[in-house]
Symmetry: C2
Subunit: 218 residues, 2 copies
DNA sequence: TCACGATGTATCGACTCGATACGTCGTGAC
DNA sequence: GTCACGACGTATCGAGTCGATACATCGTGA
């Protein structure tokens, strides 16, 4: 769900719509690509509910009418797209919004591992505590294996009625889901190992840097 | 696109809505699952445009008011769900519909290999001629590699700003798409081999059964 | 100078889903 | 027997989303 993604991004830094969309689509990569027709109504709704607020920074070229040169160091670095453009609408989390985000990120019900939500929840795992991460991953895994079972069963009942291309499509779809399950297995193992590592560190009092992956060199 | 899928299914046999949806979701397997809220309006639109027509067969338990026993051999076989229920609305292709379907199945433009259409087009490859099949597969492949390139590029520009979970999500997404490309490569090779086989058979005058896959035993 | 592309906000129509409503029919529990 | 439950069957509604589009500013380069 878009709203969670917006809140999650704004939790790191205030952003305006255009930049928000770019980061959103970078965040979710090849999975989804929210459009403005989705983004702007969502922002409006969030403002109306008091979860985010607008801060009209970067005033629209004040006083000096149509004169060309911009006043701030706009293209000075040449990298940051956050240069002084024109009346952009920058959104920021309110206290209510922060609270709501924490509630959502701490939840691990079915809503968290359904198709339309899982990737967003996963994208913000860095802001989610370890037990919730594992619960969501396991819920997702169960969900996928259930679907796998259902498809296999209904396919077995009607196998001979389908032409080869339909069969190939089904076979490919099943394979994709199976691969997803194996991916989840790897992630769950990693999370469990980390939890053990943290427990051990807690006993022995060592570093708390959980950033390295145990399968990185494989 | 749902409409193409409906026309394609009705091209094999007349069906009513409920059965149509079941076959639709079996056909597309784990990819999509059209709901009634999509199906019935689409049927209505197709009827309005004269591409399909309703045939009110299987009359609604005529005359014999509320008496229990059904008159036809309803559960006699126990397998066919097409037994004599109650006033079902059976849809059938019209001549216009058949023609439209042929036009659509023969087309191989960008619309055929975009995300939302490709799987439906693929599901009806058995009703599509070989050159169109290859063009669609190659178009799809090009589309995916373009997207791969775009995601890789934008990821390279912002790699260090992302946390490990976001990176893992991106990596997984890229891997899925890469696998899709390799799948397409295999299909394209198979199609090309078949085309050669057909050409050879045409010269030597042998069988025209194109059903076996050349990678089945791999 | 002026066309073009990037930046930026915003809306509209079309499509789709999930939930829901309503109704028939067969089956099995009690 | 009867009654609840699940399969079958048609249909609509609200909400979320996309793609196209509109409009405006600004920088760049032909």
């Amino acid at each position: 769900m878009l709203e969670t993604a917006i809140l999650g991004l704004l939790n790191s830094a205030p952003l305006h719509g255009y930049e928000l969309r770019k980061r959103l689509n970078l965040l979710l990569g090849s999975f989804r690509a929210f459009s403005y027709g989705t983004l702007y109504p969502a922002l409006k709704s969030l403002v109306a509910r008091g979860l985010i607020e607008t801060t009209e920074r970067e005033a629209p070229a004040p006083a000096g009418r149509a004169s060309g040169s911009r006043q701030s160091g706009a293209k000075a670095n040449g990298k940051a797209p956050l240069s002084g453009r024109r009346g952009r609408i920058v959104y920021r989390l309110t206290a209510d919004g922060k609270e709501h985000l924490q509630t959502v990120l701490a939840s691990s019900g079915p809503a968290a591992w359904e198709d339309e939500n899982f990737d967003v929840r996963f994208a913000f795992f860095a802001q989610t505590d370890a037990e919730t991460r594992i619960r969501i991953l396991e819920g997702r895994r169960t969900r996928l294996t259930e679907r796998l079972e259902a498809v296999r069963e209904s396919a077995a009942r009607t196998r001979e009625r389908l032409d080869e291309y339909t069969l190939e499509l089904q076979r490919h779809g099943l394979e994709q889901v199976e691969r997803e399950v194996r991916w989840l297995d790897g992630l769950i193992t990693t999370e469990r190992d980390r939890a053990l590592g943290r427990a051990r560190d807690h006993n022995a009092g060592a570093s708390d840097a959980p950033a390295q992956r145990n399968k990185e060199r494989g």
